[in-house]
Symmetry: C2
Subunit: 344 residues, 2 copies
């Protein structure tokens, strides 16, 4: 394990995208989203995705020079064709479009089709909150890993929900969650560590729980949030299907492509200047003031762990496993980019 300064990591990721011939503004946007995600401690959705992106680009599933265009537009709704772009540039354009429209008419939604992996859902909802708006960010994940309630096979991706809202004295409330009990990456981590996985994360074809991590990694299906029927697994399944509808069905890319959905709401159309943000402070302070069951573990609100990680990693660097370090060296070899992390 080593630590890499975020400025070095930015240069490294940019160097790879430069070999792809990506447009300068697409590089800037994508590098920013990816490295901010690593800074926030969400290792599974930041630079750790670069080997996968490189492979998808080599296989022609990502177009490095996409035509991203607004295909349909109404006063509070738009559809963006991402032209097989890596997801970050069209997602930033979509959330910005939703925010611009929401400032005009109060609320707006934007759907994106023909996209790819866009990193962490919460980055885009966070864009809205940073500018005083409420934001929602959803994406489908075309890799089927999650079994419907009562299902033997996987039928949905981990279909995450990002939601953020600004406060005054507090950092924004910032939720970013898969609609499965856990993301697949947590099974991989347990497998590499030689540890069992908790009962409830994965099931086999008969619906029986899997606790052996290598077995789960090879043949398991993730459970929807809630896990069993008794503990509400039908709810996580329903939320995953809701995300699929808003991202894939609404945008017109069901079954083959990645789609996203963004919503922005401007509270200033409903409330007096600063009133919404002050009420957000009251809510967040009230939640944090809940007496803890264990005095050593205070109640948090969504976003707290990520803000803490960001401050720590900005100061001390981003931890990187030897495995990822070597995978990034390989990405540089294959793409022809200089490997800049050796001296870091």
């Amino acid at each position: 394990m080593r630590t890499i300064d975020d400025t070095v990591l930015r240069r490294q990721v940019a160097a790879v995208f430069e070999t792809w011939g990506m447009a300068r503004d697409h590089i800037e946007t994508t590098v920013h989203v990816m490295v901010e995600t690593d800074l926030a401690g969400i290792d599974s959705h930041g630079v750790g995705m670069l080997p996968w992106y490189q492979k998808a680009k080599e296989e022609g599933r990502i177009d490095p020079k996409p035509e991203i265009r607004i295909e349909r537009e109404a006063g509070a709704l738009a559809l963006i064709d991402a032209g097989q772009s890596l997801g970050h540039p069209p997602a930033v354009l979509a959330m910005r479009t939703a925010m611009d429209k929401a400032r005009q008419v109060g609320a707006a939604a934007v759907a994106v089709r023909n996209s790819n992996h866009y990193g962490a859902a919460g980055y885009y909802s966070g864009m809205a909150a940073e500018e005083g708006l409420v934001g929602l960010s959803l994406t489908n994940a075309p890799t089927k890993q999650v079994a419907p309630m009562f299902g033997a096979d996987a039928a949905l991706g981990t279909n995450p929900i990002g939601f953020a809202a600004p406060a005054a004295a507090n950092r924004p409330f910032a939720l970013d969650m898969a609609t499965s009990t856990v993301a697949f990456g947590k099974v991989s981590i347990a497998r590499r560590a030689g540890k069992p996985i908790p009962e409830g994360w994965m099931v086999d074809r008969s619906g029986a729980p899997i606790t052996d991590a290598p077995h789960g990694h090879d043949v398991g299906r993730l459970t929807p949030l809630g896990g069993t029927r008794e503990l509400g697994g039908h709810k996580g399944y329903g939320l995953g299907a809701m995300v699929e509808i808003l991202c894939a069905t609404l945008s017109g890319c069901l079954g083959h492509e990645t789609g996203h959905f963004f919503l922005a709401v401007d509270p200033s159309h409903l409330r007096g200047e600063g009133d919404f943000e002050t009420d957000m402070d009251r809510l967040l302070d009230m939640l944090r003031a809940t007496p803890p069951a264990d005095p050593a573990q205070p109640v948090m609100v969504a976003g707290d762990p990520e803000y803490a990680a960001h401050a720590e990693r900005k100061a001390n660097g981003i931890p990187m496993t030897d495995t990822l370090f070597e995978e990034l060296r390989d990405v540089c070899r294959r793409s022809g980019a200089p490997f800049l992390l050796e001296r870091a």
Copy 2:
């Protein structure tokens, strides 16, 4: 246990509201929402709420002759002051306003403040789907029953999510779920039946699971969907807080009143005629075609159990416990309404 024909039940509920002096259109709306909810099998949110409503009206918490007005309005956003009305009439007005605006500009949101219990969240999202739109319906529940992750006390209500989307050959996808593992009513049912509750539904102040139903009923806190930290309880907590933000914080009634949030999206602004509905059929058919883990229990989609209950109860009547029957007799006594169920 007896069964009551839905037309008789409608007359009974209307007779009670007439003694309140409620406006004719408010009575029609509220009776329709409540009895449709019983027909759909959601016993906890239909006529079973009438004793609670009667009590709240007697205590002055529900204004039977409210002034419901649109307080703020933009092209795709509005705020409705419900004037302490029972929740159903302002909620129907709000969803209809969101739908009308969505047809104009593609998408629209409406927040409601100073409201009361509005029944089942899914009724209002279903209104949108019945007319070809995608609908979202959220409400906060001011009674704090759900502990935040790591919390010893309850800090949020069961804050449900209703979401619906229309198909062509299929009935609409219709999700209606509390953001807690279960609603409090399930604990009451177990208590009355003398049965234990499953580990994971409730915790005590130390965070330890409660399985004794009477003990849970008296001192337990409901867990957020996911239950423990290991199985994603922080996600259910985050979803509950999201609902609180959109319903109470956005509308300006945090901490004391019930608020709602509605969103409508009109797919016809993005897709060709009928294309969205056809894609919905593909998705729903694909999900239902997932091989089941147990052949006796096929995979369903959200709404299936409610549509089946509706058909059965419309034909054969709505089952009613002796307890509720006697409670409704008492409501009639207190309100001065005729008791119409005796002969039913």
